[in-house]
Symmetry: C2
């Protein structure tokens, strides 16, 4: 048994876990990393500006008491195939640690809570505890790697009148989130879903492979 | 505070931390992952054979009580420049978690301790506790990433009579380990060093940028 402690928290546009993208890398999704007091030290980041990307190790804090099972149904495989928990990046796992590669947009050294790291490509719920930051290095790029195809993607329909309620710099990210099917694994076509994103509630239904946004509510 | 527990241990050719490569990816270096009893379940790996590589999250078990400091001197930068701990992959960090991408060579489903995963490209000392296994997926490849150049590399000289004492399938890996300069950060040219690798003790000296192997002892 080994004890770990948060070094920072990340602030994102996702105020509940429903709707958080399945993976890192959606470039428009920003996060602000604020360090806990004992780690609020610019020396700890010295040289980080020479790297474009970092790995964040973090805690699936919303799932931590939910336990795990040996197999899961990955939503990106359509939600109907069972896979071993160690053959997926699913959040319910024996040690609830997540891992995301994100882009460094800015390191702010001079402000009240400094240092702060602004990153893009996040896939974490707001206030997720961060337990480690490591630079993304050359040996992390494995171009020879192979993996199964992600077959499950939805067509997204959203009327212009609803889309224009979403800030211009969040529209593309929202569509990418919806394409990846934010529903839980057990699909119930026809049901109405909603999730919170960047101060809005996004309401949608899914019919076969088409997701239709039916309302965007400012909250 | 969050508690984590080993799910497995990895068996490698490194019986002490001195000499362990600085990074994952030296293809000839093999490891055998054996699961702890509660996680010794082939269902947990179902579908993993569809991936070529996995991430291992693990504990720097040899350093765990050594604490950390805000800055370190990365050996791959020559050992003379200080960098913030979060700008390096150094082992002495607030939460002692390591992260390595390794190649799946074989998954053995039928043996006494099964399932067992044989991997290559390891950078862990023998019996390192593993805390998570995640498939290496497409979004982990960031070809646009940039990083500082690794400037420090040694020329390795080893006489034929010594090299032939090393098993053929370990020779290339040994030379790669030596090129990366296995010495601690504080260089003392001229001193004699030794480390254990694959049942041998490798004795060497370093003079400027040249590492000379002076003995290989079977132990």
């Amino acid at each position: 048994m080994h004890k770990i402690t948060p070094i920072a928290h990340i602030y994102t546009d996702f105020h509940s876990k429903f709707g958080v993208p399945r993976q890192h890398g959606i470039g428009e999704l920003m996060g602000k990393i604020v360090f806990e007091k004992p780690f609020r030290d610019i020396n700890m980041l010295r040289g980080l500006e020479k790297f474009s990307h970092i790995w964040l190790l973090w805690i699936f804090s919303e799932n931590i008491n939910a336990g795990y099972s040996a197999t899961v149904r990955p939503p990106r495989l359509g939600g109907n195939k069972r896979r071993g928990v160690f053959a997926t990046r699913a959040p319910f796992r024996p040690n609830s640690i997540g891992m995301s590669a994100v882009k460094i947009e800015e390191i702010i050294f001079e402000c009240e809570e400094s240092p702060i790291i602004i990153v893009s490509g996040v896939d974490m719920v707001n206030k997720t505890p961060i337990i480690d930051i490591k630079p993304y290095i050359k040996t992390d790029i494995i171009n020879s790697a192979t993996f199964p195809n992600i077959i499950h993607k939805l067509n997204v329909e959203i009327e212009e009148s609803l889309l224009c309620k979403v800030p211009a710099d969040k529209q593309s990210a929202l569509i990418k989130i919806l394409e990846e099917d934010p529903r839980p694994s057990y699909h119930k076509d026809g049901r109405q879903y909603g999730f919170y994103f960047a101060g809005m509630e996004i309401i949608f239904t899914v019919d076969c492979d088409t997701l239709r946004v039916i309302d965007v509510i400012n909250i």
